[in-house]
């Protein structure tokens, strides 16, 4: 990004939106990455020549995508209310989720993923369980399967432990939460992995929705997710943290050399090692390990555990 003065940074030079440039200095734009690479790393006297810009653009974008998948901490957060089918439509730039929570009374309650399927496709069948077809020979499909309706209607799953000591017991509801008499002794049969009073969710990737169980329609859900950094195809908006800038050049250089004819193997290997070490460096830098922060963490080492 080009250098800008303070007025442009803090007030966007009087234009709207005012916060357009806030924090922008930590990023380098895709335009700059491609431009710098074409200027500095390709040419008659460089390792790579006779290069099309779109090749650099492609590998630069691929590099940014890879960084977004695991190395960067660019988590996006989207809050939406569920529809009547207890579904949360995946964000348009969704690639993978980080954490999904229910926002209730000003508090975020992290939800647990139901690793069992909560959705299924089904075919229409007659009384003899024979599959029904339309006139074109295609199978007839209802909109929702029994699994779908069962899951979204809050039906019990294995996570609701009917063998629980609290099952069918009387308790007290205080501020929307249930309290029971303290049970003495061991409790068997509880799935500790999912021992959570909050609703569970299941991601239907094919349909592009998150299904929820045991949750009311209209409930507010917050999804923290990662994208690929492509900003819906807006090339001008794509950027990458400056800590990864050198890595990105190395990634593009390696990708180009690796795919070229007649490049010696030691040159490709050098580029590969260069890329790998720069990625490690960038990750360490981005992890923000400071002595002061470590000191605060280490202070807990002598804490007594009850």
């Amino acid at each position: 990004m080009a250098y800008i003065n303070d007025y442009a940074y803090y007030a966007n030079s009087g234009a709207i939106p005012e916060d357009k440039n806030w924090g922008s200095y930590q990023y380098v734009s895709l335009n700059d990455v491609v431009n710098n690479f074409m200027l500095m790393y390709q040419g008659n006297h460089e390792l790579i020549n006779n290069l099309n810009r779109y090749q650099v653009l492609f590998h630069a974008k691929r590099g940014i995508q890879e960084l977004n998948y695991d190395a960067m901490k660019e988590v996006k957060v989207l809050q939406l209310d569920l529809d009547d089918n207890l579904r949360f439509i995946l964000p348009s730039d969704y690639v993978n989720w980080v954490r999904i929570s229910q926002f209730l009374n000003g508090v975020l309650y992290p939800l647990t993923e139901n690793i069992q399927t909560g959705w299924a496709t089904t075919y229409l069948q007659d009384n003899n369980s024979k599959i029904l077809y339309d006139q074109d020979g295609n199978v007839l499909k209802p909109q929702f399967s029994q699994v779908d309706t069962s899951f979204t209607s809050g039906a019990k799953t294995i996570y609701l432990n009917e063998s629980s000591a609290y099952n069918t017991q009387s308790g007290w509801n205080v501020d929307g939460r249930w309290y029971f008499d303290f049970a003495v002794g061991a409790r068997f049969g509880l799935n500790t992995e999912t021992a959570n009073a909050n609703p569970t969710f299941s991601i239907d990737k094919q349909r592009g929705v998150i299904n929820f169980s045991s949750i009311g329609g209209g409930a507010s859900v917050v999804v923290e997710y990662i994208s690929d950094g492509m900003e819906q195809g807006e090339d001008g908006s794509i950027s990458v943290n400056k800590l990864f800038e050198e890595y990105l050049y190395a990634y593009v250089r390696y990708s180009l050399l690796n795919g070229r004819l007649g490049v010696q193997e030691y040159v490709v290997n050098r580029a590969r090692k260069d890329k790998s070490s720069l990625l490690r460096n960038a990750k360490i830098r981005l992890s923000n390990i400071h002595p002061g922060r470590l000191l605060m963490n280490m202070r807990g080492q002598d804490k007594w555990l009850k």
């Binding site: 335009n31 008659n44 006297h45 099309n52 810009r53 779109y54 492609f58 691929r62 492509m230 090339d235």
Partner: protein
């Protein structure tokens, strides 16, 4: 230089009264010789670039490539491209090779000239001050049929709402009155990348690399007129198709290209004796555009043509040997 070349050639050819070279013939040979040497610069540039990479060329006075580039750069021209329709633009008729195509994404205003003057844009209907025209912005003549089509200049001063002072004269003659113009911001310019015809389909269909206004692309096409260089139709030379197809702003696409050298013309006055006398003041006079250091090469080339014309092998052989020797020195 052209008179010196001609005198040298005549001296060589006439040494034993071999024959006489008419001015018309000389001009033809001069054009051929200049084109030959001009093209040779690009091959030399490539050869010497490779030698540089092998450490066979040095820096400073040993920097051969630098000298070659300086000569080639003399022929570099920047022109705004006339729009033929939608995203199709005409290349200038005098281009030898396209160096770069640039896209000016932000047009400030456009209009039609109402007067002509050197280094001036006058439009009685314009509101330059109100429109935010500033010093440094580019003004281009966007009338495809104008002989000044594509000529451009930078704003030096905003004189009034209706007049600008420019660094060049795209509207310098009376014939340009009524020509259209466009004024473009000179920030945010992006290079339009050359893509081969066989790649553009894949490029347009690739989500990651599809041309955008930030990374536009173009493909070179054939001439849009059946008569290449037909100035009457305004469809000159080849065309380029720019992608994304939303780039349709007339005057927003600019070419930096290497033009052909102008045809040399030895002009003269005819004396009563019939002897032509060199006259540099003729309107169509044109000297060689190659540097003075190329004079021996040009003489050698012309001697070869002359040797064939007057059927004198010695003259041809002399020119040929001189050229071979010259090439050996340079390599």
């Amino acid at each position: 230089m052209i008179n010196s070349v001609r005198n040298t050639v005549l001296a060589i050819a006439n040494k034993n009264n071999y024959g006489y070279i008419s001015p018309q013939d000389f001009n033809l040979y001069a054009q051929q010789a200049q084109m030959d040497l001009f093209e040779d610069y690009f091959y030399q540039y490539n050869a010497w670039t490779n030698k540089e990479n092998q450490r066979l060329s040095g820096t400073g006075y040993a920097d051969i490539v630098k000298g070659l580039v300086e000569v080639i750069d003399n022929f570099s021209v920047t022109r705004s491209l006339a729009q033929q329709g939608a995203n199709l633009f005409n290349l200038p008729s005098d281009y030898y090779l396209v160096n770069k195509i640039n896209y000016y994404p932000t047009q400030i205003t456009s209009g039609t000239t109402t007067a002509a003057a050197l280094n001036t844009l006058t439009d009685a209907n314009a509101t330059f001050v109100t429109s935010g025209i500033k010093v440094g912005q580019q003004v281009a003549n966007t009338t495809a049929t104008s002989s000044y089509s594509g000529f451009s200049g930078f704003v030096i001063s905003v004189d009034s709402e209706t007049q600008l002072t420019l660094s060049y004269s795209p509207f310098g003659v009376a014939a340009t009155i009524g020509n259209t113009y466009g004024i473009f911001n000179t920030t945010g310019i992006v290079e339009v990348e050359r893509v081969n015809q066989n790649k553009i389909f894949y490029l347009n269909n690739s989500p990651l690399t599809a041309p955008s206004t930030g990374f536009p692309a173009y493909v070179l096409g054939g001439a849009s007129s059946s008569v290449i260089g037909d100035a009457n139709t305004g469809k000159l030379g080849n065309t380029i198709t720019v992608y994304p197809s939303t780039i349709t702003n007339n005057g927003s696409v600019t070419a930096e290209y290497i033009r052909y050298p102008l045809s040399p013309k030895w002009t003269y006055q005819t004396l009563n004796s019939g002897e032509p006398l060199f006259d540099i003041n003729q309107a169509d006079y044109q000297d060689f555009e190659l540097p003075l250091s190329d004079e021996p090469g040009i003489v050698s080339k012309i001697c070869q043509y002359v040797g064939i014309e007057i059927r004198e092998g010695d003259v041809y052989n002399f020119g040929n040997q001189e050229e071979v020797k010259n090439n050996q020195i340079q390599t």
